[in-house]
């Protein structure tokens, strides 16, 4: 297995695959965060929108995001956009739902105190409510990252696209068990390392401020 990985590294296929996958993941995840957090905030604050979209989003979240791939391919063809749709849908939903729940379950005196101090509008939304919901949002963000990675792998396996998923496909085509297992190990290692790099600092901040134990 180590030899298979070594040769894949030497040929440059592994490096290129990791890079392609990582870029996709980061772009898709960034879009998911940028839509999921504001959407969750709006859902928590505007009952009418919550009533309209809430059940739909809950329903959608039970559908594995890879199910959207056929539709995405019909719309966008076999393109980066199609695979991004799958990643964004997979990651944005848990982020949205976690943000919504975190904001809705804040102690009511936090908002009341802020309003009596004159906070309103964007100050209240971003500097108070979002800041207060950070621990819950972080949980959602971590879940979103995992979902983004899963969606990405599923997507890459299903259509030729470079990336680690395709490398797995190559391994299967060549009946190269060592290569397949090697790539899985790489995926596990990358996922653990990326979580540590991305969320470690935020987790330490949350632990320090809220006094919760760091995981």
């Amino acid at each position: 297995m180590a030899r298979a990985l070594a040769s894949a590294t030497a040929e440059g296929t592994l490096g290129r695959a990791v890079l392609v996958s990582a870029v996709r993941l980061v772009v898709g995840y960034a879009i998911a965060l940028a839509t999921g957090v504001p959407l969750g905030l709006v859902l928590a604050r505007v009952p009418a929108i919550k009533r309209a979209l809430g059940p739909l989003l809950l329903g959608l979240s039970s559908v594995p995001s890879i199910c959207w791939l056929p539709l995405a391919i019909v719309w966008f063809g076999l393109s980066e956009a199609a695979i991004q749709v799958v990643i964004v849908l997979g990651a944005a939903l848990p982020v949205t739902l976690a943000t919504e729940s975190a904001v809705r379950h804040l102690p009511p005196t936090i908002e009341r105190a802020a309003r009596t101090m004159g906070a309103a509008g964007p100050t209240l939304l971003f500097r108070v409510l979002l800041a207060a919901a950070l621990p819950g949002i972080l949980t959602g963000a971590k879940m979103g990252w995992t979902f983004a990675l899963r969606s990405l792998m599923a997507g890459e396996l299903l259509f030729v696209s470079g990336g680690l998923g395709q490398l797995l496909e190559t391994g299967r085509d060549l009946a190269d068990t060592a290569l397949v297992l090697g790539v899985v190990v790489v995926i596990v290692a990358l996922s653990r390392a990326s979580e540590r790099v991305l969320f470690g600092p935020v987790e330490r901040v949350v632990a320090r401020r809220w006094g919760t134990a760091a995981s």
Binding site: T116, M117, T123, V128, A131, G211
Partner: protein, 328 residues
């Protein structure tokens, strides 16, 4: 009014001794060097029902004089917190009017500060940033802000803990922090909602003394909600009794005792037999409040015990100064 507030926020210390003597005079052109005096407030025939439910408050009228320290006592669920929320502008009356300084209240604002039972400090900010928050919102310049925060932390004896996050502070320190934050914008009225209910007896007495000292020095109007009659008698110039279901005013008692007042269970108890005249008067007032409110407390107790609760109009067990009864 608000534009000028911004200018002179942070200009003077709350506890300056000369505050108490000089009369209030404000001009737009030259900001005064003193904090503004407390403002009046009133509920006029206020009825409130949350979301079309039964009335929580029924035709409540209440006047608070400028600079007055008013305590509200009454059984649980009577609507005391609701009255504070109305005064703060956090909820709107279904019927009737809420006035502050003679004008209808349209929403919350920094001239009316609230101290909540759970302190409600922001967990993601250090104590010093918490105290600075209302000043930041009001647009006070950083240098002035820092000065004002220093002064406030000194006032509540928390300078050493300025860098601590709320979870690193004790319950009493959190309440002192919340009081400092409430004072930051020099409110003309401070509303306290059972701020010391979760603290032990000694800490409560200590903080009662601080509230008496700080609020008097700032000449701010105060409305203080509490379950404990001894607390109301210590802090209030007047104690208003709030009945329940629906919430309404059922009586009031004036407390004409000199200040600063002693802790209810402090010195007098220690040297047995040495209770001063003031202590005796305080007990009398507390007993009057307790007896006026007993009927109401019994009503709540009976309802909550599903009719299994007897009347307590006979010989009374506990000390009436301490609490309103077990039904609370």
């Amino acid at each position: 009014m608000f534009a000028t507030t911004k200018k002179w926020i942070g200009a003077t210390a709350v506890a300056e001794p000369e505050l108490a003597s000089a009369p209030a005079a404000r001009s737009v052109a030259r900001p005064p060097t003193r904090a503004p005096a407390g403002a009046s407030a009133a509920l006029e025939g206020v009825t409130l029902a949350y979301d079309g439910g039964a009335a929580v408050l029924e035709d409540v009228s209440l006047d608070v004089a400028p600079g007055e320290a008013l305590c509200l006592v009454g059984p649980s669920g009577g609507g005391k917190s609701t009255i504070l929320n109305l005064l703060a502008g956090l909820v709107k009356p279904t019927r009737g009017r809420v006035l502050f300084d003679g004008a209808p209240v349209t929403g919350p604002g920094p001239e009316r500060a609230v101290v909540f039972q759970d302190a409600a400090l922001f967990p993601w900010l250090t104590l010093e940033k918490n105290v600075a928050f209302p000043l930041e919102v009001a647009g006070v310049a950083p240098a002035e802000r820092a000065e004002r925060v220093d002064e406030l932390l000194r006032l509540v004896h928390l300078s050493r803990f300025r860098g601590a996050f709320p979870h690193e502070l004790s319950g009493g320190m959190r309440q002192r922090g919340a009081i400092a934050r409430a004072l930051a914008t020099r409110p003309r009225m401070i509303l306290f909602d059972e701020p010391f209910a979760a603290l032990d007896g000694q800490m409560r007495e200590l903080l009662q003394g601080e509230v008496e000292r700080i609020v008097r020095a700032s000449r701010t109007t105060m409305v203080f909600v509490t379950h404990a009659i001894d607390e109301a008698v210590r802090l209030g110039d007047r104690v208003v009794l709030i009945g329940t279901r629906p919430g309404r005013v059922i009586g009031e008692v004036h407390v004409d005792l000199p200040r600063p007042r002693r802790a209810a269970f402090g010195g007098a108890r220690a040297d047995a037999g040495g209770a001063s005249l003031e202590d005796v008067q305080a007990v009398r007032i507390a007993q009057r409040i307790a007896s006026e409110i007993r009927v109401e407390v019994d009503k709540v107790a009976r309802e909550e015990a599903d009719g299994a609760w007897g009347s307590s109009s006979g010989p009374d067990g506990g000390d009436p100064r301490r609490h309103l009864g077990r039904g609370i």
